[in-house]
Symmetry: C2
Subunit: 663 residues, 2 copies
């Protein structure tokens, strides 16, 4: 949080406090000195944030900065042990441990950022129950190693990583149905689907015409589409045309069919698109945006005082597509949703542009479906949008019904279902609790709706109360996904973990209480929760699910068949201590297809197939079949072994591949 | 644990108990019926273990089986909530939570099995602080994406995964020095080194002539070598010769230099090699083994009643190498340590073959360095080897000074530093605590040294008390690394997590108490612990560490240079909100080398470099420089963005690569 070129030790708490105080004095001095001027170029760099002084003045941000900085300084450790007396909780810290053998109450699905995976946590214990590789390849599950997942990744662009941000659970009738989870890849503009029967990725779509699918949501209440925001404006199509003509760049909203995973249509907008959420009734999808300027450099992108949130009228867009009012690019119908489009001129515009303070970051629709909350990022406010009004007012600005001032760097908002909202403050490193109805009634910029603030450590992005995105939040626990952990854990080198903090909110009736710090491997962005009983995973495979697509190899079926001059098909069963055949012989240069079925039906008895020096690695759960194709390119003896310690004779459990030299 | 072809629901606790009882009755009936016969082929499949009845009878295993089965049944949940009243602890369960902002007491380094990574946990909280990719590629840290790590992985065989089992910390004067961690890759016969200043893998050696480097240890007290056991017997060299002449296969012990990471010498043995540990004085390294039969099928491998632990006399081996008594294969001197070798005929054999009951699994040397414990696996005993006697006795069997009977399926042993050993029982699903000196004094096969057993859930492999592998164990906490978790956590599909259970042993004075279940992504094998103050990681990069190897790119240095007809070098600094250049232009088909320095010096402010559709992904910690080379193969606009959310203007932080079409 200090200047990047500072030579002082910026990790020393006292030093940091001192720097803050100095910065604060500078800000106050500047403000005092320059108040009469309204258009000078004085700017403040604070935690990497370059704010024009006007933003501060307009929004009364000096007071905000004072509160924020004081709060931040107060949250710094005062002792050498890194503890913070104010936040370590009282004697009645709510119990979040789950005793041995007992189960957690909720599933939490965490995006893994550029690790490319989804993580499944138990709540409230915060234990990581498993990982689901999505855009990455992963050895423990053999994901990307068997032919099926390898081909899926190859067909989706053949990238080896992705950057997932926003996990979304499928809904039926407005409730999580436990069937699928959808998540974006910002890096390569993709959307993936995870099958929650098997906790396995089963489809990835490379969305045409967009770069950086960022915000993602399912269209409530019945998952009609997966909606994805194209964040980066590019030429359309991006084939070398208009390279340096940014005025011809564009951003698109994409609608992907949840079953076929095909991109059904796209909508072109002015500016760009950031985060998206769906109303509860299936009509409105609302996107934040930060580059109404349509600039290509940071100064330009944050130049104007106003940006526009885009509210997409989905049935109106569908109607335009049906009527053929689109151009087709790379096979996808693209509807013109820019402000000047004729589709926005009639009685029912397909996209409504709602003015907000500059560069708002997020959109979250509260449990009742009445309001969408748009956190200000570069404004210390949250803009409250009345969703019903979107279709009623002639000026979209009239759909704004409140704008409480909450603190510096508001990024995301979550809900307890009892009328309270909780907003993460990136710069203040706080979570702020506020009263929704009070905020609607209060004057714009009022801090009166604010109930309480709690320090978090440090720089929170998403904030999620358990089941806040449903119509029935739990209201007991809240997670602050903090981007920085700095000194909160034993040091582990220059790549620090994030810090997901568990905060007790007690149905919103109590004071917030910080209960646990939880280190998170970089870099979770968001999470979503479901009641334990909502998800019903299989504990072994149901072979009916792949009947016709893959064989089920029994012990009797095990054997080698030559399928060509340079190709063989090896089939093998596997069970504890034993592969279906103890050896097989192939010739140097053969392409080997190896099909293996785990014939056991006992839960948790998984078997692996590893072949040294051939990069072969399968993980096969009970009743599952996996297949891999590789080349036996060097003569020699290669022992096939099981990577899952499955029995007391696990080490002796092997098969031998003999690769004969070709004459 | 039920028959693999059973159609009953094997996950129903009551059903499992019933099955166990049926199996037990069968065993007892068989034993009664056949006691007079001593060499029949009746075998028992129990948890995948095929034991000849003779093993049971000889070792009095019927009683063991009864204890074991009863223990196992007793450990099953009796209620629907999966809880186990006997094990959930008393009111004074020791506190293992670490309050927010406080630090753990110990680092725990976990092998990640076929995930290919090392995991770093805080103890006692069991929180995962970070992961260190080793044999895998990994997006969050950009490991395998920058040229340096990509080339390291390529030169080490170009495999995309590995199977790491045994993490070892470097020692100076018999104490952990906090400098390096070494770990094996069983899949491809490799050994890797992790630099603990940066928590990053900095070297990988593909060990010649061996398949499946399994057991691994450093030679105490000064890390003279990293020793690795070649587990799978293969032809030497494995080039197509002797394909189906197993009598010519061999296993090798390899000694790798900890600095150069070169393989210095190897030792050929009879049978194979499994786990290894070093004595405390630098002379002896002791390996378990399970295939004295030199068979290639499971029945043959577990046919004989005896196997041989191999004790390697390191100075004697070094002397043989110095005297030129070796053959060289693939550049490595190989010393003949087989029983018939002349090097084993003189006064000072280089390898001593110590007979033990069949197929022993592990070797762990206790803190005083007096004894090596060899758990029986297929024998219900632990063999105690007096290390000093190895150099004194003429018959190596005389170095065995105790053989307590501990239970079914003993795999590994750990220590509290107060005279107690704790052995994991794979089949019994228990940890057994026993008295070392009592075991030395007791008659062979006595259960008298056994103090206490505790159920674990389920099927433990390694067991580690904190710092048990040092001369000064902590003695407070013990971890049981259980291979199966079955019903212990919310279900997450057919690939179950392991269950690392935290057990309080209270200096060995109290009863063992199960404190926490901890789900572990497949499949940790082992772990090692260090006091927090032993490890001193850097929190930002020290650029002196790469001076001369990589440039440090300042804002001023940022720019594009054409280096050839089809190649360019792009240099850029990066700091919060800003790359050193906001755009650069290349031509279609150019090979682009991109060198980026994070010029900040603030802890935890990491920056990423992601280029959509080019699979480019760097993670750059403060003061670090990373380089990547890729081809710009399609014309278009590609936005470069930061994958670490680093400031409030993080989303606006971008650079643009314009790829011009080539005429």
């Amino acid at each position: 949080m200090s200047d990047s070129t500072s030579s002082a030790d910026s990790t020393d708490p006292e030093r940091v406090v001192e720097e803050y105080e100095n910065q604060l004095e500078d800000v106050l001095a500047d403000v005092e000195e320059t108040t009469p001027r309204t258009d000078d170029d004085l700017s403040l760099e604070l935690a990497g944030l370059q704010l024009d002084r006007r933003d501060f003045l307009k929004a009364g941000a000096v007071a905000g900065a004072m509160t924020g900085l004081a709060g931040c300084a107060g949250s710094l450790p005062t002792g050498g042990d890194g503890s913070n007396a104010a936040n370590t909780g009282s004697d009645d810290v709510p119990e979040h441990r789950v005793p041995p053998g007992e189960h957690d109450e909720y599933y939490g699905f965490w995006s893994g950022g550029h690790s490319g995976e989804i993580r499944v946590l138990g709540i409230p214990s915060m234990r990581e129950l498993t990982r689901i590789p999505v855009f990455n390849t992963e050895g423990a599950r053999g994901y990307g190693y068997d032919d099926q997942t390898d081909e899926m990744l190859e067909e989706a662009g053949d990238y080896t990583w992705g950057d997932n941000h926003h996990p979304n659970l499928s809904e039926t009738d407005g409730k999580y149905d436990g069937e699928y989870l959808y998540v974006n890849d910002k890096a390569n503009g993709r959307i993936a689907r995870v099958n929650l029967k098997y906790f396995e990725t089963d489809a990835i779509t490379d969305v045409p015409n967009v770069q950086a699918v960022h915000g993602t949501c399912v269209l409530s209440p019945d998952t009609k589409y997966i909606l994805g925001n194209g964040e980066f404006r590019t030429p359309l199509p991006n084939d070398g045309r208009d390279l340096d003509n940014p005025e011809n760049y564009t951003s698109l909203l994409s609608a992907v069919d949840p079953e076929s995973m095909e991109t059904k249509w796209q909508v072109k907008v002015d500016g760009n698109l950031d985060i998206i959420d769906s109303g509860k009734e299936g009509r409105w999808a609302i996107s934040s945006a930060y580059n109404s300027e349509e600039a290509v450099e940071i100064e330009g992108m944050s130049h104007d005082d106003r940006d526009y949130v885009k509210a997409f009228d989905i049935p109106a867009i569908e109607q335009a597509v049906e009527r053929g009012k689109y151009e087709e690019v790379n096979g996808v119908p693209i509807v013109d949703g820019t402000q000047s489009s004729t589709l926005n001129k009639g009685d029912r515009p397909i996209v409504r542009y709602v003015p907000t303070p500059k560069s708002p970051h997020c959109v979250e629709v509260e449990p009742n479906g009445d309001y969408a909350m748009i956190a200000g990022k570069l404004s210390p406010t949250v803009t409250i949008l009345d969703i019903d009004k979107l279709g009623e007012v002639s000026d979209p600005a009239d759909a704004v019904v409140g704008r409480p001032k909450v603190g510096l760097g508001p990024l995301h908002t979550t809900f307890d279902g009892n009328g309270h909202a909780y907003t993460s403050l990136f710069i203040d490193s706080q979570a702020v609790k506020w009263d929704i109805e009070k905020a609607v009634e209060a004057e714009e910029g009022s801090t009166d709706p604010v109930i309480e603030k709690i320090d978090v450590h440090y720089n929170p992005g998403h904030i999620q109360a358990v089941k806040a995105m449903t119509t029935d939040p739990d209201g007991e626990w809240l997670i602050s996904l903090n981007k920085l952990s700095k000194d909160r854990f034993l040091p582990v080198g220059p790549i620090h973990p994030d810090n997901d903090q568990l905060i007790h909110i007690g149905q919103g009736e109590k004071e917030m209480e910080l209960v646990a710090d939880h280190p998170a491997y970089p870099e979770p962005h968001d999470c979503v929760f479901a009641d334990a009983e909502t998800i019903s995973p299989a504990t072994t495979w149901d072979k009916e699910d792949y009947a016709g697509e893959k064989p089920f190899v029994t012990e009797k079926d095990s054997g080698v068949e030559r399928t060509g001059e340079q190709s063989v098909h090896v089939k093998s069963s596997v069970k504890r201590s034993e592969y279906g055949m103890s050896e097989f012989t192939v010739k140097e240069g053969d392409e080997v297809t190896l099909t293996v079925t785990n014939i056991e039906d006992v839960r948790d008895v998984i078997h692996g197939v590893a072949i040294p020096e051939h990069d072969v690695n399968l993980a096969i759960a009970p009743q599952d079949t996996r297949e891999v194709t590789f080349t036996a390119d060097e003569p020699g003896v290669y022992w096939i072994y099981c990577t899952y310690f499955c029995s007391a004779l696990h080490l002796e459990m092997r098969s031998r591949m003999l690769v004969e030299p070709r004459e």
